[in-house]
């Protein structure tokens, strides 16, 4: 819709309708749109400035230390990446599988609608509750070990699974039905149709959705706290049963250190590192999406 809000013209025989409210409202709405973005930008600028001088090679390659000038982020960085990779391994097949079932196999019955509603609901369950689930199920019942890579990955994987399923469903739904018809018409079985036609077409969308969900996973803190992930770790995890810390957890811990150098320097450096990793992940998703959009 074009702007119909230009200045009220000079009077003519048709009269004139006041645009004061219109213009004021437009400005108000624009201001509202920008307020969140601008305040976030200001905060990001602040934290980036604070990180200057702290975010350096030493910071990225050392273990944590109570002396802010020696403190490092490496174990948390590696921990986050390790957890994320494991989450990807868990959620990708499960999420895509569920999406395939709901889009390609399930009929429109009560069970399907129930599953669908349930998935939408799970997507809104607070992350701290997933933390309790992880604590009760993986740490308690299955005895995977508190604070281990595996327990962390399982817990956060369950948390992002609904998001992965929903975005994979959207990608699968976007595959034109004519493609399926073509395959079925050739005598392809359902599985062949899914494997040869549906999945290849939907894959960029599925990847984009999954990667964005992983971005969400890498910032999760509360579930890790609930499964008793250690406050500080000094080495890279050597197995999936190793105790693991993660970037947001390390940031949360540093924020409680006595020295102001931590508060305004080290934590800022950690925040910037976390955001850069997140940005990288999201950029990958966007690149995949754009490349895919160009081709169709």
């Amino acid at each position: 819709m074009a702007a119909d809000t230009h200045e009220a013209p000079a009077d003519s025989e048709f009269g004139r309708v006041s645009r004061t409210k219109d213009v004021a409202f437009r400005l108000l709405a624009l201001a509202a749109t920008l307020i969140g973005i601008v305040s976030l930008a200001a905060l990001l600028l602040n934290v980036t400035l604070d990180a200057v001088g702290w975010l350096d090679w030493q910071f990225l390659t050392s273990p944590p230390h109570p002396n802010p000038y020696e403190a490092g982020f490496l174990p948390a960085l590696i921990g986050s990446v390790a957890i994320m990779l494991l989450i990807a391994l868990i959620t990708f097949p499960l999420g895509v599988g569920a999406a395939i079932y709901l889009e390609e196999y399930a009929d429109d019955g009560y069970l399907t609608r129930f599953i669908q509603l349930n998935i939408a609901n799970l997507a809104g369950v607070p992350s701290v509750v997933y933390g309790l689930l992880g604590l009760g199920l993986f740490v308690g019942l299955f005895r995977i070990g508190y604070g281990s890579v595996l327990a962390a990955a399982f817990t956060v994987a369950l948390l992002i699974l609904p998001i992965v399923i929903i975005s994979a469903q959207e990608a699968i739904r976007a595959v034109p039905d004519s493609q399926r018809q073509a395959a079925y018409g050739m005598g392809a079985t359902k599985w062949q149709t899914i494997r040869d036609v549906v999945l290849p077409r939907a894959m960029p969308g599925i990847m984009t959705g999954t990667i964005l969900a992983l971005g969400r996973a890498i910032g999760e803190t509360a579930p890790l706290i609930m499964i008793a992930a250690p406050t500080t770790v000094f080495g890279a995890p050597t197995s999936i049963f190793s105790k693991v810390s993660a970037m947001p957890l390390q940031i949360y811990n540093w924020a409680s250190y006595p020295q102001t150098e931590f508060q305004y320097g080290v934590v800022a450096a950690g925040v910037v590192t976390l955001l850069v990793v997140l940005l990288t992940i999201n950029s990958i998703a966007i690149i995949i999406r754009n490349r895919y959009q160009q081709r169709t």
Binding site: T231, T238, S242, N253
Partner: protein, 291 residues
């Protein structure tokens, strides 16, 4: 329990937030020399560490800002954990107020008790008529912490309860920020949290009947700072000493605890005698379990 915790080169530590910086500094140094060892360190409070982790067989070492309690020893025994106590530093538990609170520089133990006991004073003026007629804003250690237990024992005593309407936290930084943020606030924690922020918060001298004594490394070492100076410990599960990585780490710890590494963090290092005594105990325990 604990089948995975004792796996390979993993060393698990939980417990006191007071001792945390010491252990962190030493663990950081250790892991740079031994990159294949993965040390995981949690800040749970002394009691939380004993109850939830150490005596449940989930950690190898527990940081402690007080001695282990009988109930905890019993709990450890139930899951076949034998604690070995090692002193690693001395702390001056410090009471702090806002720098703008110019009316108070020194408090007697009785005054402190009046402020921190349940059903005690609510306003500054309740303690001294000269002081502002304002409510206290109190920040202190959570009940699971050794600091709480020590303060409770040394100041409040058996007769009374520690008050419960205060900001209780395991994150001492929170106390620094809270006290810094309000003119009428007061808090207490380990000395290191004060020594790192001498400008933003003010330490109160304590009068235990012999005049006011400022908390400092010197007064703690000399024993003048009573009743709030206290020893800090780590407890090692003897069973964990079967793991070479734990043995090496604890030896390393004992050696480093006698160095400036500890004073940099804000506590008093162990004396050389203490260190030798610690190492002797340690080697005896190692021999016990490796036979």
């Amino acid at each position: 329990t604990g089948i995975f915790a004792s796996e390979g080169n993993q060393i698990n530590i939980a417990g006191s937030s007071t001792v945390f910086p010491v252990t962190e500094a030493i663990a950081s140094a250790f892991s740079e020399e031994n990159p294949t060892v993965n040390i995981a360190l949690s800040k749970t409070g002394t009691g939380g560490g004993f109850g939830n982790f150490f005596c449940a067989g989930r950690t190898d070492i527990n940081n402690a800002s007080r001695a282990i309690a009988d109930a905890e020893i019993e709990q450890c025994g139930n899951s076949d954990v034998t604690p070995l106590e090692l002193t690693v530093a001395t702390d001056a538990l410090t009471v702090v107020v806002n720098p703008n609170a110019d009316w108070v520089d020194c408090l007697t133990v009785e005054q402190l008790r009046e402020i921190w006991r349940a059903d005690g004073a609510q306003r500054w003026s309740d303690i001294d008529d000269e002081w502002p007629d304002e409510e206290f804003e109190l920040y202190g250690a959570a009940t699971t912490s050794g600091t709480f237990d020590y303060f409770n024992e040394a100041i409040i005593g058996e007769e009374e309860n520690h008050r419960s309407d205060y900001h209780a936290t395991e994150r001492d930084r929170t106390i620094v920020q809270g006290v810094q943020g309000s003119e009428f606030a007061m808090g207490y924690f380990g000395f290191s949290y004060y020594s790192e922020n001498p400008d933003s918060i003010k330490a109160v001298a304590i009068d235990d009947g012999d005049g006011c004594v400022e908390p400092s490394i010197e007064t703690a070492m000399s024993g003048e700072y009573t009743p709030l100076s206290r020893p800090l410990f780590i407890y090692v599960a003897k069973e964990s000493l079967t793991k070479p990585s734990v043995r090496n780490f604890v030896r390393f710890y004992m050696n480093r605890a006698a160095t400036d590494l500890v004073s940099e963090v804000g506590y008093v290092p162990t004396t050389e005698d203490q260190r030798d005594e610690n190492l002797k105990q340690l080697e005896t325990a190692i021999e016990e379990v490796t036979e």
